[in-house]
Symmetry: C2
Subunit: 221 residues, 2 copies
Protein backbone atom coordinates (compact mmCIF):
# COMPACT_ATOMS: atom_id res chain seq x y z
CA UNK A 1 0.00 0.00 0.00
CA UNK A 2 1.29 3.46 -0.90
CA UNK A 3 2.87 5.41 1.95
CA UNK A 4 1.79 8.96 2.65
CA UNK A 5 5.17 10.08 1.28
CA UNK A 6 4.44 8.32 -2.02
CA UNK A 7 1.00 9.91 -2.16
CA UNK A 8 2.54 13.35 -1.64
CA UNK A 9 5.19 12.69 -4.30
CA UNK A 10 2.65 11.53 -6.88
CA UNK A 11 0.16 14.30 -6.26
CA UNK A 12 -0.04 16.98 -8.95
CA UNK A 13 -3.25 18.62 -7.93
CA UNK A 14 -5.30 18.95 -4.76
CA UNK A 15 -8.85 19.99 -5.52
CA UNK A 16 -11.12 20.97 -2.64
CA UNK A 17 -14.83 21.54 -2.50
CA UNK A 18 -16.15 24.49 -0.49
CA UNK A 19 -19.37 24.72 1.55
CA UNK A 20 -20.37 21.08 1.30
CA UNK A 21 -22.00 20.61 4.71
CA UNK A 22 -25.06 22.76 5.47
CA UNK A 23 -24.20 23.55 9.12
CA UNK A 24 -20.68 24.62 8.15
CA UNK A 25 -22.09 26.96 5.51
CA UNK A 26 -24.18 28.60 8.24
CA UNK A 27 -21.36 28.97 10.78
CA UNK A 28 -19.30 31.02 8.29
CA UNK A 29 -22.35 33.11 7.28
CA UNK A 30 -22.10 31.90 3.72
CA UNK A 31 -24.94 31.11 1.37
CA UNK A 32 -25.73 27.53 0.43
CA UNK A 33 -24.33 26.96 -3.06
CA UNK A 34 -26.63 25.90 -5.90
CA UNK A 35 -23.74 23.96 -7.37
CA UNK A 36 -20.43 22.79 -5.95
CA UNK A 37 -17.45 25.12 -6.20
CA UNK A 38 -13.81 24.20 -5.97
CA UNK A 39 -10.37 25.55 -5.27
CA UNK A 40 -6.82 24.27 -5.59
CA UNK A 41 -4.23 23.77 -2.89
CA UNK A 42 -0.63 23.28 -4.03
CA UNK A 43 0.97 19.85 -3.45
CA UNK A 44 3.74 21.74 -1.62
CA UNK A 45 1.29 22.37 1.23
CA UNK A 46 1.09 18.66 2.15
CA UNK A 47 2.34 17.81 5.65
CA UNK A 48 3.19 14.13 6.11
CA UNK A 49 2.19 12.17 9.23
CA UNK A 50 4.66 12.95 12.00
CA UNK A 51 6.28 15.78 10.05
CA UNK A 52 4.53 18.58 11.99
CA UNK A 53 4.07 21.11 13.37
CA UNK A 54 1.73 23.14 11.22
CA UNK A 55 3.36 26.54 10.85
CA UNK A 56 1.22 29.59 11.57
CA UNK A 57 2.33 32.50 9.39
CA UNK A 58 2.65 35.83 11.18
CA UNK A 59 -0.64 37.70 11.47
CA UNK A 60 -2.68 34.72 10.30
CA UNK A 61 -5.82 33.41 11.99
CA UNK A 62 -5.29 29.74 11.17
CA UNK A 63 -8.37 27.48 11.08
CA UNK A 64 -8.68 23.69 10.88
CA UNK A 65 -11.17 21.95 8.57
CA UNK A 66 -11.29 18.16 8.83
CA UNK A 67 -12.14 16.47 5.54
CA UNK A 68 -12.36 13.08 3.90
CA UNK A 69 -9.79 12.92 1.08
CA UNK A 70 -9.96 10.82 -2.07
CA UNK A 71 -6.81 9.63 -3.81
CA UNK A 72 -7.55 9.14 -7.50
CA UNK A 73 -6.45 5.94 -9.17
CA UNK A 74 -7.14 6.72 -12.79
CA UNK A 75 -7.78 9.41 -15.34
CA UNK A 76 -11.32 10.80 -15.22
CA UNK A 77 -12.99 13.15 -17.69
CA UNK A 78 -16.65 14.14 -17.92
CA UNK A 79 -17.92 11.69 -15.33
CA UNK A 80 -21.72 11.51 -15.21
CA UNK A 81 -23.04 12.95 -11.89
CA UNK A 82 -25.03 9.82 -11.18
CA UNK A 83 -22.29 7.37 -12.12
CA UNK A 84 -21.67 6.16 -8.56
CA UNK A 85 -19.87 3.03 -9.72
CA UNK A 86 -17.65 5.03 -12.07
CA UNK A 87 -16.75 7.39 -9.24
CA UNK A 88 -15.92 4.54 -6.85
CA UNK A 89 -13.89 2.76 -9.52
CA UNK A 90 -11.80 5.90 -10.07
CA UNK A 91 -10.84 6.13 -6.40
CA UNK A 92 -7.64 4.36 -5.38
CA UNK A 93 -7.97 4.95 -1.65
CA UNK A 94 -8.87 7.47 1.03
CA UNK A 95 -7.13 9.62 3.54
CA UNK A 96 -8.07 12.00 6.27
CA UNK A 97 -6.85 15.55 5.75
CA UNK A 98 -7.00 18.92 7.46
CA UNK A 99 -7.62 21.78 5.05
CA UNK A 100 -5.80 24.45 7.05
CA UNK A 101 -7.02 27.90 6.11
CA UNK A 102 -5.71 31.39 6.79
CA UNK A 103 -9.22 32.58 7.64
CA UNK A 104 -8.47 36.30 7.82
CA UNK A 105 -6.58 36.14 4.51
CA UNK A 106 -9.48 34.24 2.96
CA UNK A 107 -12.07 36.71 4.30
CA UNK A 108 -10.12 39.60 2.84
CA UNK A 109 -9.78 37.77 -0.50
CA UNK A 110 -13.56 37.21 -0.56
CA UNK A 111 -14.36 40.86 0.09
CA UNK A 112 -11.88 42.02 -2.54
CA UNK A 113 -12.79 39.38 -5.13
CA UNK A 114 -9.28 37.91 -5.08
CA UNK A 115 -8.16 34.27 -5.42
CA UNK A 116 -8.00 31.94 -2.43
CA UNK A 117 -4.69 30.31 -3.39
CA UNK A 118 -2.58 32.11 -0.78
CA UNK A 119 -5.11 31.65 2.06
CA UNK A 120 -5.20 27.92 1.35
CA UNK A 121 -1.69 27.31 0.11
CA UNK A 122 0.91 27.95 2.83
CA UNK A 123 3.50 25.23 3.46
CA UNK A 124 2.21 22.69 6.05
CA UNK A 125 -1.42 23.73 5.43
CA UNK A 126 -2.43 20.23 4.39
CA UNK A 127 -1.71 17.63 7.07
CA UNK A 128 -2.69 14.17 5.79
CA UNK A 129 -3.10 10.77 7.41
CA UNK A 130 -1.72 7.53 6.08
CA UNK A 131 -3.52 5.96 3.15
CA UNK A 132 -6.78 4.26 4.07
CA UNK A 133 -7.36 1.20 1.91
CA UNK A 134 -10.52 1.41 -0.14
CA UNK A 135 -11.90 -1.75 1.41
CA UNK A 136 -11.86 -0.07 4.83
CA UNK A 137 -14.58 2.40 3.78
CA UNK A 138 -17.26 0.40 1.94
CA UNK A 139 -19.47 3.52 1.61
CA UNK A 140 -17.63 6.89 1.67
CA UNK A 141 -20.94 8.65 2.41
CA UNK A 142 -21.27 6.68 5.60
CA UNK A 143 -18.16 7.45 7.61
CA UNK A 144 -17.74 9.59 10.70
CA UNK A 145 -15.06 12.30 10.89
CA UNK A 146 -13.84 13.93 14.07
CA UNK A 147 -11.21 16.43 15.08
CA UNK A 148 -10.14 17.63 18.51
CA UNK A 149 -7.91 20.47 19.67
CA UNK A 150 -6.06 19.81 22.93
CA UNK A 151 -8.37 16.81 23.41
CA UNK A 152 -11.54 18.87 23.11
CA UNK A 153 -13.78 17.61 20.29
CA UNK A 154 -14.44 20.40 17.77
CA UNK A 155 -15.78 18.58 14.72
CA UNK A 156 -17.67 15.29 14.66
CA UNK A 157 -20.09 14.50 11.85
CA UNK A 158 -21.03 11.97 9.24
CA UNK A 159 -19.99 12.19 5.60
CA UNK A 160 -23.64 11.38 4.95
CA UNK A 161 -24.30 15.09 5.53
CA UNK A 162 -22.49 16.22 2.38
CA UNK A 163 -24.67 18.52 0.25
CA UNK A 164 -23.05 17.26 -2.96
CA UNK A 165 -22.05 13.64 -2.92
CA UNK A 166 -18.81 12.27 -4.27
CA UNK A 167 -19.99 11.26 -7.79
CA UNK A 168 -21.40 14.77 -8.30
CA UNK A 169 -18.13 16.30 -7.06
CA UNK A 170 -16.01 14.19 -9.40
CA UNK A 171 -18.45 14.93 -12.21
CA UNK A 172 -18.30 18.69 -11.76
CA UNK A 173 -14.51 18.76 -11.41
CA UNK A 174 -13.87 16.40 -14.31
CA UNK A 175 -16.05 18.48 -16.63
CA UNK A 176 -13.60 21.34 -16.04
CA UNK A 177 -10.29 19.59 -15.63
CA UNK A 178 -9.02 16.08 -16.18
CA UNK A 179 -8.50 14.17 -12.95
CA UNK A 180 -5.29 12.16 -13.00
CA UNK A 181 -4.03 9.22 -10.95
CA UNK A 182 -2.47 10.62 -7.80
CA UNK A 183 -4.68 13.70 -7.61
CA UNK A 184 -6.26 14.32 -4.21
CA UNK A 185 -9.84 15.55 -3.74
CA UNK A 186 -10.96 17.03 -0.43
CA UNK A 187 -14.69 16.59 0.00
CA UNK A 188 -15.54 19.47 2.33
CA UNK A 189 -15.69 20.02 6.06
CA UNK A 190 -18.56 19.66 8.54
CA UNK A 191 -19.45 22.29 11.16
CA UNK A 192 -17.16 23.21 14.04
CA UNK A 193 -14.16 24.76 12.28
CA UNK A 194 -12.10 27.09 14.41
CA UNK A 195 -8.68 28.52 15.20
CA UNK A 196 -5.52 26.75 16.33
CA UNK A 197 -2.66 28.51 18.01
CA UNK A 198 1.01 27.61 18.16
CA UNK A 199 1.39 24.83 20.71
CA UNK A 200 -2.11 23.42 20.22
CA UNK A 201 -2.37 19.75 19.30
CA UNK A 202 -4.95 18.58 16.77
CA UNK A 203 -6.06 14.99 16.76
CA UNK A 204 -8.37 13.53 14.16
CA UNK A 205 -9.83 10.23 13.17
CA UNK A 206 -12.43 8.39 11.19
CA UNK A 207 -14.96 5.75 12.19
CA UNK A 208 -16.88 3.32 10.04
CA UNK A 209 -19.84 1.56 11.61
CA UNK A 210 -18.70 2.80 15.00
CA UNK A 211 -15.18 1.38 14.64
CA UNK A 212 -11.98 3.43 14.51
CA UNK A 213 -9.99 3.14 11.30
CA UNK A 214 -6.47 3.04 12.66
CA UNK A 215 -4.68 4.35 9.54
CA UNK A 216 -6.78 7.52 9.71
CA UNK A 217 -5.55 8.52 13.16
CA UNK A 218 -3.79 11.86 13.07
CA UNK A 219 -1.94 13.84 15.70
CA UNK A 220 -0.66 17.17 14.47
CA UNK A 221 1.12 19.67 16.70
CA UNK B 1 17.24 20.73 -23.33
CA UNK B 2 13.94 19.68 -21.76
CA UNK B 3 11.07 19.30 -24.20
CA UNK B 4 7.75 20.98 -23.48
CA UNK B 5 6.34 17.52 -22.73
CA UNK B 6 8.99 16.99 -20.05
CA UNK B 7 8.25 20.39 -18.57
CA UNK B 8 4.53 19.52 -18.40
CA UNK B 9 5.27 16.14 -16.83
CA UNK B 10 7.57 17.60 -14.15
CA UNK B 11 5.31 20.50 -13.25
CA UNK B 12 3.50 20.20 -9.92
CA UNK B 13 2.34 23.75 -9.57
CA UNK B 14 1.65 26.69 -11.83
CA UNK B 15 1.59 29.94 -9.91
CA UNK B 16 0.40 33.08 -11.68
CA UNK B 17 0.59 36.72 -10.70
CA UNK B 18 -2.45 38.93 -11.33
CA UNK B 19 -2.51 42.62 -12.30
CA UNK B 20 1.19 43.02 -12.91
CA UNK B 21 1.10 45.54 -15.77
CA UNK B 22 -0.50 48.94 -15.04
CA UNK B 23 -2.36 49.30 -18.36
CA UNK B 24 -3.84 45.82 -18.05
CA UNK B 25 -5.10 46.64 -14.54
CA UNK B 26 -6.90 49.65 -16.04
CA UNK B 27 -8.48 47.80 -18.96
CA UNK B 28 -10.22 45.36 -16.59
CA UNK B 29 -11.32 48.19 -14.25
CA UNK B 30 -9.31 46.72 -11.40
CA UNK B 31 -7.38 48.60 -8.74
CA UNK B 32 -3.59 48.61 -8.79
CA UNK B 33 -2.44 46.16 -6.10
CA UNK B 34 -0.24 47.37 -3.22
CA UNK B 35 1.38 43.96 -3.21
CA UNK B 36 1.43 41.12 -5.71
CA UNK B 37 -1.31 38.50 -5.54
CA UNK B 38 -1.24 35.02 -6.99
CA UNK B 39 -3.41 32.15 -8.07
CA UNK B 40 -2.85 28.53 -9.06
CA UNK B 41 -3.59 26.84 -12.35
CA UNK B 42 -3.59 23.03 -12.38
CA UNK B 43 -0.82 21.27 -14.35
CA UNK B 44 -3.64 19.45 -16.16
CA UNK B 45 -4.46 22.71 -17.97
CA UNK B 46 -1.15 22.70 -19.88
CA UNK B 47 -1.50 22.47 -23.68
CA UNK B 48 1.69 21.35 -25.42
CA UNK B 49 2.96 22.99 -28.64
CA UNK B 50 1.00 21.59 -31.58
CA UNK B 51 -1.51 19.83 -29.34
CA UNK B 52 -4.29 22.41 -29.81
CA UNK B 53 -6.93 23.58 -30.21
CA UNK B 54 -7.82 25.41 -27.03
CA UNK B 55 -11.27 24.17 -26.08
CA UNK B 56 -13.90 26.78 -25.27
CA UNK B 57 -16.32 25.44 -22.66
CA UNK B 58 -19.99 26.07 -23.38
CA UNK B 59 -21.15 29.51 -22.23
CA UNK B 60 -17.62 30.72 -21.55
CA UNK B 61 -16.16 34.03 -22.69
CA UNK B 62 -12.59 32.84 -23.18
CA UNK B 63 -9.81 35.45 -23.00
CA UNK B 64 -6.12 35.20 -23.90
CA UNK B 65 -3.37 36.63 -21.67
CA UNK B 66 0.16 36.36 -23.04
CA UNK B 67 2.78 35.95 -20.29
CA UNK B 68 6.45 35.24 -19.76
CA UNK B 69 6.78 31.95 -17.88
CA UNK B 70 9.61 30.89 -15.58
CA UNK B 71 10.53 27.24 -15.14
CA UNK B 72 12.06 26.76 -11.72
CA UNK B 73 15.30 24.83 -11.43
CA UNK B 74 15.61 24.48 -7.70
CA UNK B 75 13.86 24.64 -4.37
CA UNK B 76 13.26 28.21 -3.16
CA UNK B 77 12.00 29.33 0.24
CA UNK B 78 11.88 32.84 1.69
CA UNK B 79 13.79 34.53 -1.11
CA UNK B 80 14.71 38.13 -0.33
CA UNK B 81 12.77 40.55 -2.59
CA UNK B 82 15.95 42.25 -3.70
CA UNK B 83 17.94 39.08 -4.29
CA UNK B 84 18.06 39.41 -8.07
CA UNK B 85 20.95 36.98 -8.41
CA UNK B 86 19.20 34.41 -6.19
CA UNK B 87 16.07 34.72 -8.32
CA UNK B 88 17.97 34.29 -11.58
CA UNK B 89 19.92 31.34 -10.18
CA UNK B 90 16.67 29.59 -9.26
CA UNK B 91 15.31 29.82 -12.81
CA UNK B 92 16.09 26.89 -15.10
CA UNK B 93 14.64 28.40 -18.25
CA UNK B 94 11.77 30.38 -19.73
CA UNK B 95 8.72 29.75 -21.82
CA UNK B 96 5.97 31.76 -23.37
CA UNK B 97 2.51 30.90 -22.12
CA UNK B 98 -1.07 31.98 -22.63
CA UNK B 99 -3.04 32.20 -19.39
CA UNK B 100 -6.45 31.41 -20.89
CA UNK B 101 -9.22 32.73 -18.68
CA UNK B 102 -12.96 32.12 -18.56
CA UNK B 103 -13.59 35.83 -18.10
CA UNK B 104 -17.31 35.63 -17.31
CA UNK B 105 -16.70 32.82 -14.80
CA UNK B 106 -13.91 34.86 -13.21
CA UNK B 107 -16.04 38.02 -13.03
CA UNK B 108 -18.81 36.10 -11.32
CA UNK B 109 -16.31 34.55 -8.88
CA UNK B 110 -14.98 38.03 -8.06
CA UNK B 111 -18.43 39.42 -7.33
CA UNK B 112 -19.38 36.44 -5.21
CA UNK B 113 -16.02 36.18 -3.39
CA UNK B 114 -15.36 32.70 -4.77
CA UNK B 115 -12.06 31.09 -5.84
CA UNK B 116 -10.65 31.56 -9.32
CA UNK B 117 -9.55 27.94 -9.78
CA UNK B 118 -12.35 26.96 -12.16
CA UNK B 119 -12.12 30.15 -14.28
CA UNK B 120 -8.40 29.56 -14.75
CA UNK B 121 -8.24 25.79 -14.68
CA UNK B 122 -10.05 24.24 -17.65
CA UNK B 123 -8.19 21.65 -19.71
CA UNK B 124 -6.18 23.32 -22.53
CA UNK B 125 -6.26 26.70 -20.72
CA UNK B 126 -2.47 26.90 -20.56
CA UNK B 127 -0.84 26.71 -24.00
CA UNK B 128 2.95 26.81 -23.63
CA UNK B 129 5.83 27.27 -26.05
CA UNK B 130 8.94 25.15 -26.15
CA UNK B 131 11.54 25.77 -23.48
CA UNK B 132 13.58 28.92 -24.01
CA UNK B 133 17.16 28.44 -22.81
CA UNK B 134 18.12 30.82 -20.06
CA UNK B 135 21.00 32.22 -22.08
CA UNK B 136 18.53 33.43 -24.73
CA UNK B 137 17.02 35.98 -22.33
CA UNK B 138 19.92 37.71 -20.56
CA UNK B 139 17.51 40.07 -18.76
CA UNK B 140 13.95 38.78 -18.26
CA UNK B 141 12.79 42.35 -17.56
CA UNK B 142 13.91 43.37 -21.02
CA UNK B 143 12.01 41.15 -23.42
CA UNK B 144 9.12 41.95 -25.71
CA UNK B 145 5.97 39.80 -25.74
CA UNK B 146 3.36 39.83 -28.46
CA UNK B 147 0.19 37.95 -29.31
CA UNK B 148 -2.04 38.14 -32.37
CA UNK B 149 -5.47 36.73 -33.15
CA UNK B 150 -6.06 35.89 -36.80
CA UNK B 151 -2.87 37.83 -37.57
CA UNK B 152 -4.07 41.00 -35.88
CA UNK B 153 -1.72 42.11 -33.10
CA UNK B 154 -3.57 42.32 -29.76
CA UNK B 155 -0.80 42.44 -27.18
CA UNK B 156 2.71 43.80 -27.63
CA UNK B 157 4.66 45.12 -24.69
CA UNK B 158 7.92 44.90 -22.81
CA UNK B 159 8.43 42.85 -19.66
CA UNK B 160 10.10 46.00 -18.38
CA UNK B 161 6.58 47.28 -17.63
CA UNK B 162 5.95 44.75 -14.84
CA UNK B 163 4.77 46.46 -11.64
CA UNK B 164 6.44 43.80 -9.48
CA UNK B 165 9.64 42.41 -10.89
CA UNK B 166 10.63 38.76 -10.88
CA UNK B 167 12.70 38.70 -7.64
CA UNK B 168 9.82 40.31 -5.75
CA UNK B 169 7.37 37.79 -7.25
CA UNK B 170 9.53 34.80 -6.29
CA UNK B 171 10.06 36.36 -2.87
CA UNK B 172 6.37 36.82 -2.17
CA UNK B 173 5.43 33.36 -3.43
CA UNK B 174 8.26 31.58 -1.65
CA UNK B 175 7.33 33.19 1.66
CA UNK B 176 3.97 31.42 1.37
CA UNK B 177 4.84 28.20 -0.38
CA UNK B 178 8.02 26.40 -1.27
CA UNK B 179 8.91 26.63 -4.94
CA UNK B 180 10.16 23.34 -6.32
CA UNK B 181 12.16 22.41 -9.41
CA UNK B 182 9.70 22.05 -12.28
CA UNK B 183 7.20 24.58 -10.95
CA UNK B 184 6.08 27.18 -13.48
CA UNK B 185 5.53 30.86 -12.65
CA UNK B 186 3.52 33.11 -14.94
CA UNK B 187 4.60 36.71 -14.53
CA UNK B 188 1.46 38.57 -15.59
CA UNK B 189 0.02 39.92 -18.81
CA UNK B 190 0.32 43.33 -20.47
CA UNK B 191 -2.64 45.28 -21.84
CA UNK B 192 -4.72 44.11 -24.78
CA UNK B 193 -6.34 40.93 -23.48
CA UNK B 194 -9.52 39.92 -25.24
CA UNK B 195 -11.77 37.11 -26.41
CA UNK B 196 -11.03 34.25 -28.77
CA UNK B 197 -13.72 32.25 -30.51
CA UNK B 198 -13.66 28.73 -31.84
CA UNK B 199 -11.79 28.79 -35.14
CA UNK B 200 -9.60 31.78 -34.23
CA UNK B 201 -5.84 31.28 -34.43
CA UNK B 202 -3.57 32.82 -31.81
CA UNK B 203 0.07 33.42 -32.60
CA UNK B 204 2.57 34.63 -30.07
CA UNK B 205 6.24 35.30 -29.80
CA UNK B 206 9.05 36.93 -27.88
CA UNK B 207 11.79 39.28 -28.94
CA UNK B 208 15.04 40.15 -27.22
CA UNK B 209 16.91 43.21 -28.46
CA UNK B 210 14.65 43.30 -31.50
CA UNK B 211 15.35 39.68 -32.48
CA UNK B 212 12.78 36.88 -32.54
CA UNK B 213 13.47 34.00 -30.19
CA UNK B 214 12.48 31.08 -32.35
CA UNK B 215 11.68 28.59 -29.54
CA UNK B 216 9.08 31.03 -28.22
CA UNK B 217 7.00 31.03 -31.38
CA UNK B 218 3.50 29.77 -30.74
CA UNK B 219 0.58 29.05 -33.02
CA UNK B 220 -2.53 27.90 -31.20
CA UNK B 221 -5.83 27.20 -32.94
MG1 LIG C 1 -12.13 22.97 3.24
MG1 LIG D 1 -8.09 30.29 -6.32
MG1 LIG E 1 -2.76 36.07 -16.21
Amino acid sequence: MASAATIARNCRKVMCIGRNYADHVKELNNTKPKQPFFFLKPPSSILLPGAGPVLRPKGVNMHFEIELGLVMGKTVRDLHPEDTQGALDAIDGYLLAIDMTARNVQEEAKVRGLPWSIAKGFDTFLPISNLIAKSRIPDPQNAHLWLSVNNEIKQSDSTGLMLFRIPRQLSDISKVMTLEAGDIILTGTPKGVGPVRTGDVMKAGLQVNGKDIEEANMEVP
